[in-house]
């Protein structure tokens, strides 16, 4: 089908617009003209009626009816007045009939009494439309003449346009036959300034095409050299691959061409991704992604892939081009990094990732969550179950906290961390922590075949600077004080305690290094004779100024560090050394639960007892106030020590559990009643009753009793009256440096 020429289109468009304009104007003006003419004719008749009505009315008023008839007859005789009727006081005074088939219109004009101005009748005048019709007809005739003239002008205009545009069609024919690399010759074409500009533009375009073609060829070479390039038909069959493609996949080109795109992918993973990719491509969208392929040698390699659908001018799919970059090395490094920041057991991000995430945050909420009974689970159910427990707890924490905008991290052992950078109030985070504890502790979780109750302790902070240490301190404080949650910001003394611990740790280290750990000895006398022969060795630290410092200030700190066992060893060293030189005296040293449970300490004690052969003079005071959690270990220890001839004393009895059944099972030799029961025993009935009960019990079991804190004569008399076997206190003998005993012995 031949297309309509531009000249014809221009002429047609111009003609159409012009004709439409003229016709529209004709219709508008014709209507306006007709309306105007009709109104004019109407006004003309009204004017006639208006002119004679007063005279008609006056003549009628004066009864001059013949004059009235004469007047209306004058109107009727006028050209175009077809007829009319004069009605006054409801009687027809005059009427002229006419041919109603003729085009006409009529007006009704009221006749008014000249004196009263009341309407007394009507003058109806029928007027011919002949003049009107004639005027309209003449107007239309003129318009048609104008349209005819306009048509002639359009024909001439079309010819001129056709002539002017002829060079364009010649240029088009030249351009249509253009082949890449040709030159287009426009010499034979009549040139106007515009057509000359078009031919120049085509020349420039041809030059540009040539230049771009060269560039495109170079781009292709660049892409081929730097990327893995392939093309697929609309069905996904590979139609082209570059050398780099062949090099990376290891297949021969013949094997690859015609095969399906994606035929080299690792079929074990990411099947959905391929489906999604093809779905997007079928929708003519660009797809980007990372694809894991398998080479002919069976080696996995990763390619960052961009597949672009190529469309024809109608938007129909022609083929796909795929440009890929080998990023195997990057992916492998990323996996290594991922492993470094991920906890292997739980799959949660680890401490490294935590520090990375928290870095630079100007607002955070941080909590350290400790699973209280993790060690129990590990020891009781085994390591695998413990790991499984951690996984279950990790999943549960993520399930609870992810919706809250809180990220869960896995720290060491049974500890987790919670981090949120949401701009919320601290109360919100406290609520989140309470929510976690409530949810975790209210439900027994299934780990393998076992239902395990989780107990959590949380230490939190909102500090951005030292969030790890502050939350750690808060957690430690919570564990020590058996509190479920401690907020660092709520504990004003945590820092001072922490600093105190650091100070005393330093002092202890220095004291141990400089041999400033020493012992005091306090005599224990017979309750009846008040004769000595037994001593309790009491720990003292000599500070930088040479002053003796009570263990009250540093023992708790020592227990939290590994220094404690060095101190115990030091106590053993000093006491054994001194009392090996005092063969007549018995002596006691204090041992805590930590000492008894610490194998190295126990071994060292055994070796020293053997070395000095001093077991039969050694009394081991076990502090009852600390409670005896690991009961069996303590029993085993006592049995072992008794094998060396040692005697066992329960120190500070009456302050801890005061469990008499323990005493029976532990088979101790001495019960040392706590000073708090002794110090006012002379007048405190309750203390007297308690001590009396203990005394009876001990005598029944053949246990020797020792009253501590005998500080005045009244107390001395009382405890002697009550029948305590041994007595100890400042009133009977203050603690003094242990080496003084050697001097005294001399």
């Amino acid at each position: 089908m031949n297309k309509i020429s531009l000249s014809l289109k221009i002429t047609s468009a111009f003609a159409t617009v012009s004709v439409l304009t003229v016709v529209s104007l004709f219709v508008i003006f014709s209507n306006l003209f007709e309306e105007y003419m009709l109104r004019t004719e109407n006004e003309k008749v009204i004017l006639i009626a208006e002119t004679i009505e007063p005279m008609v009315a006056m003549n009628n008023y004066l009864g001059l009816h013949d004059e009235v008839i004469s007047l209306v007859n004058q109107i009727a005789s006028r050209k175009n007045v077809l007829g009319g009727v004069l009605i006054i006081n409801e009687s027809t005074l005059w009427e002229k009939k006419y041919d109603e088939t003729k085009g006409h219109f009529h007006i009704n004009y009221p006749v008014k009494d000249p004196v009263t101005q009341n309407v007394i009748g009507q003058l109806i005048v029928s007027y011919s439309k002949d003049s009107f019709n004639k005027a309209v007809s003449e107007m239309r005739h003129q318009v048609l003449n104008y349209l005819a003239m306009l048509s002639g002008i359009f024909l001439a205009f079309a010819f001129v346009i056709s002539y002017l545009l002829k060079p364009l069609s010649l240029i088009a024919n030249k351009v249509k036959d253009y082949q890449l690399g040709d030159r287009i010759e426009f010499d034979q074409i009549r040139m106007e300034p515009e057509t000359e500009a078009i031919s120049d533009a085509f020349d420039l375009m041809v030059d540009n095409i040539r230049e771009y073609t060269v560039l495109l060829e170079q781009y292709k070479i660049s892409v081929d050299e730097s990327s893995i390039v392939s093309k697929m038909d609309e069905y996904g069959n590979i139609t082209y691959v570059n050398d780099e493609f062949i090099r990376v996949c290891g297949y021969d080109r013949e094997d690859v061409l015609g095969s399906k795109c994606g035929g080299f992918r690792d079929t074990s993973v990411e099947h959905d991704m391929y489906e999604e990719a093809w779905e997007a491509l079928r929708e003519k969208q660009i797809w980007k992604g990372v694809v894991k392929n398998i080479s002919k040698a069976g080696i996995a390699y990763y390619v960052k892939t961009t597949i672009v659908p190529l469309l024809d001018e109608n938007g129909e799919l022609l083929e796909f081009i795929s440009i890929q970059h080998d990023i195997t090395e990057v992916v492998e490094q990323r996996e290594i990094i991922q492993r470094q920041i991920t906890d292997e057991t739980t799959g949660l991000p680890n401490r490294i990732k935590l520090q990375e995430d928290a870095q630079g945050l100007d607002n955070l909420f941080f909590a350290m969550v400790s699973m209280d009974n993790y060690d129990v689970v590990k020891n009781y159910y085994g390591y695998d179950s413990a790991l499984q427990t951690l996984r279950v707890l990790a999943d549960r924490l993520v399930e609870l906290l992810k919706p809250q905008g809180v990220t869960v991290y896995k720290l060491a052992s049974g500890e987790f961390a919670l981090l949120s950078s949401l701009h919320m109030e601290l109360d919100w985070f406290k609520q989140v922590c309470r929510f976690v504890i409530e949810k975790i502790e209210s439900t027994q979780m299934q780990v393998g075949d076992n239902g395990i109750d989780f107990n959590l302790t949380i230490g939190c902070t909102s500090s951005c600077d030292n969030y790890l240490s502050q939350a750690g301190l808060a957690l430690r404080y919570a564990v020590e004080h058996r509190m479920p949650i401690v907020y660092f910001e709520d504990q004003d003394n945590l820092i001072s305690q922490y600093e105190n611990n650091i100070t005393w740790t330093r002092k202890l280290k220095e004291a141990l290094a400089e041999d400033r750990i020493t012992l005091f000895a306090q005599p224990i006398v017979n309750g009846n004779s008040l004769q000595g022969g037994k001593y309790e060795c009491l720990l003292r630290l000599i500070d930088e100024d040479g002053k003796y410092v009570s263990p009250y200030f540093f023992l708790d700190v020592a227990k939290k560090t590994k220094l404690y066992h060095y101190i115990t060893s030091k106590v053993i060293d000093i006491s054994f050394d001194v009392f090996s030189k005092l063969p007549e005296s018995e002596f006691s040293i204090n041992l805590s639960a930590e000492d008894i449970l610490h194998k190295e300490t126990v071994s060292y004690l055994e070796s020293m007892i053997s070395k000095y052969d001093i077991g039969n003079r050694l009394i081991l005071e076990i502090v009852e106030s600390e409670g005896i959690d690991s009961f069996q270990e303590v029993v085993d220890f006592i049995v072992k020590m008794k094998g060396y001839g040692c005697k066992i004393a329960i120190d500070d009895f009456g302050t801890g559990y005061s469990n008499f059944s323990y005493l029976m099972k532990l088979e101790v030799d001495y019960i040392k009643i706590d000073g708090s029961l002794i110090k006012d025993i002379d007048h405190n009935k309750h203390s007297q009753v308690i001590c009396f009960t203990i005394l009876n019990f001990c005598k029944t079991l053949n246990m020797t009793t020792v009253a501590e804190f005998v500080h005045n004569d009244e107390v001395l008399n009382k405890v002697q009256d009550m029948g305590f076997d041994y007595l100890q206190g400042f009133y009977l003998g203050e603690p003094r440096p242990i080496h003084d005993l050697l001097e005294l012995d001399k």
């Binding site: 007063p54 006056m58 003549n59 004066l62 004059e67 004196v115």
Partner: protein, 182 residues
């Protein structure tokens, strides 16, 4: 004898009456009786000329015209039923000889009478801006203002020479339908 004398006397009376009487056209009298009151209503200043809410028309007659005057009065009253427009209509029949300047009416209708009498009435009426209708338009010589003549059709005559004297303002249309004569 007496009868003869009586007959002669009667004949003389009749002859004398025929010799001096004016011939009044009954049709014209009827037309004038119909038109003149309506012309009174065309006076723009009629309200100033109404007397105690009455339009008073005085018909002035001479010797032997009394019956004509009464007839005219009867015709007017028969047509207008004692009301003219919103006012009452009162018609007086008066002999010229009894007319003086105290005889004030809204309008005057003068019969032939004697010209001296007619002029007295017209002068008086003009001074009071009262319209004077005359039976005979020839009486315009006596300065009557308006008259009506019936020929092939009815004409209303207006005395151009008297218009200025009377200074009466009729509705403009009135001037379009009248014949103005000098």
């Amino acid at each position: 004898m007496n009868k003869i004398i009586l007959k002669i006397f009667l004949v003389l009376i009749l002859v004398s009456k025929q010799a001096f009487a004016f011939d009044y056209d009954p049709l014209l009298i009827r037309a004038q009786a119909s038109i003149f009151p309506k012309i009174i209503l065309l006076d723009k200043d009629l309200d100033k000329k109404v007397m105690e809410n009455k339009v008073v028309i005085s018909i002035l007659h001479g010797n032997g015209e009394y019956e004509i005057a009464l007839n005219i009065k009867s015709l007017i009253e028969g047509q207008y039923k004692k009301n003219l427009g919103k006012n009452e209509l009162k018609i007086n029949v008066l002999d010229y000889r009894k007319f003086d300047d105290s005889t004030v009416s809204t309008a005057y209708f003068i019969l032939k009478g004697a010209s001296t009498y007619r002029e007295q009435v017209t002068a008086h009426a003009a001074s009071k801006n009262r319209v004077v209708f005359s039976y005979d338009y020839k009486d315009f010589e006596s300065n009557a203002l308006i008259s009506v003549l019936v020929r092939e059709k009815t004409y209303i005559y207006l005395n151009k020479n008297a218009i200025h004297d009377y200074d009466i303002k009729f509705l403009p249309l009135f001037y379009k339908i009248v014949k103005v004569i000098e």
